[in-house]
Amino acid sequence: MYVSNTDRIVSHQNISLLKLQDLDLSSLNYKIGDLKLGTYDNLITARHDTPLIEILRLFISKGISSVPIVDKNDVVLNVYEKYDVLLLAREGPYYNLDIPVSDALARRPLVNMKIAASLIFFPQICIGFPRDTFLLGG
């Protein structure tokens, strides 16, 4: 499945409100696209060779929580999240923040990161479409 234009991101924080226990959610058949849930305009993206330090500065200056990593055709390769900074901090030395973000992504545990144009689906990212509803997204 191809995502040909990355113009939207929905983070879990937008939908965590809906984890209502013991309540009937079967009628929650709203499409993410209809609700415009997520970021649609002025989306900030990065390339695989964007230095990590630049992305850290973006998190602060733009007040965003994640950045999609795209290739030159705007195909989503991965997403670098604020939470990943904690993994970075755990490594110990905070030096060499000039490394490309793809290096930092490679350090994510349990996942074999092979960033290739042909490999679109990554286990830790689910690519959704505006026609998806909350129930489909789980």
Partner: protein, 105 residues
């Protein structure tokens, strides 16, 4: 859409809390490196910070704080050994004090 509106209006935060849950809170005298380990171990992004002396919450320790800590040493081009030494002793209180200093480049 009206159903969604109703659900959101009728329910409180208390309603969506699980019956039993682990709560992570940091004392502000805790070392930042230990706080980091606790956040990673419990797979949470942030936690409230408690001031024992004054019996009150004084803020949240979030990933932004760690980003700012990283940028702090990066912008000053601090040698890595010195940075690690300083971070080793850093408490949450000290971290918050650090962030209020103007950046000297």
């Amino acid at each position: 859409m009206m159903q969604m509106k109703e659900i959101l209006e009728k329910n409180t935060c208390y309603d969506i809390l699980p019956l039993s849950y682990k709560v992570i809170v940091f004392d502000q005298s805790l070392l930042v490196k230990k706080a980091l380990a606790a956040l990673l171990q419990n797979a949470v992004q942030s936690a409230p910070v408690w001031d024992t002396a004054n019996h009150q919450f004084v803020g949240m320790l979030t990933v932004t704080d760690f980003i700012q800590l990283i940028l702090y040493y990066f912008d000053r081009s601090t040698p890595i050994d010195q940075a690690l030494e300083e971070i080793d002793e850093l408490t949450i209180t000290a971290l918050r004090g650090l962030m209020q200093l103007p950046c000297e480049k």
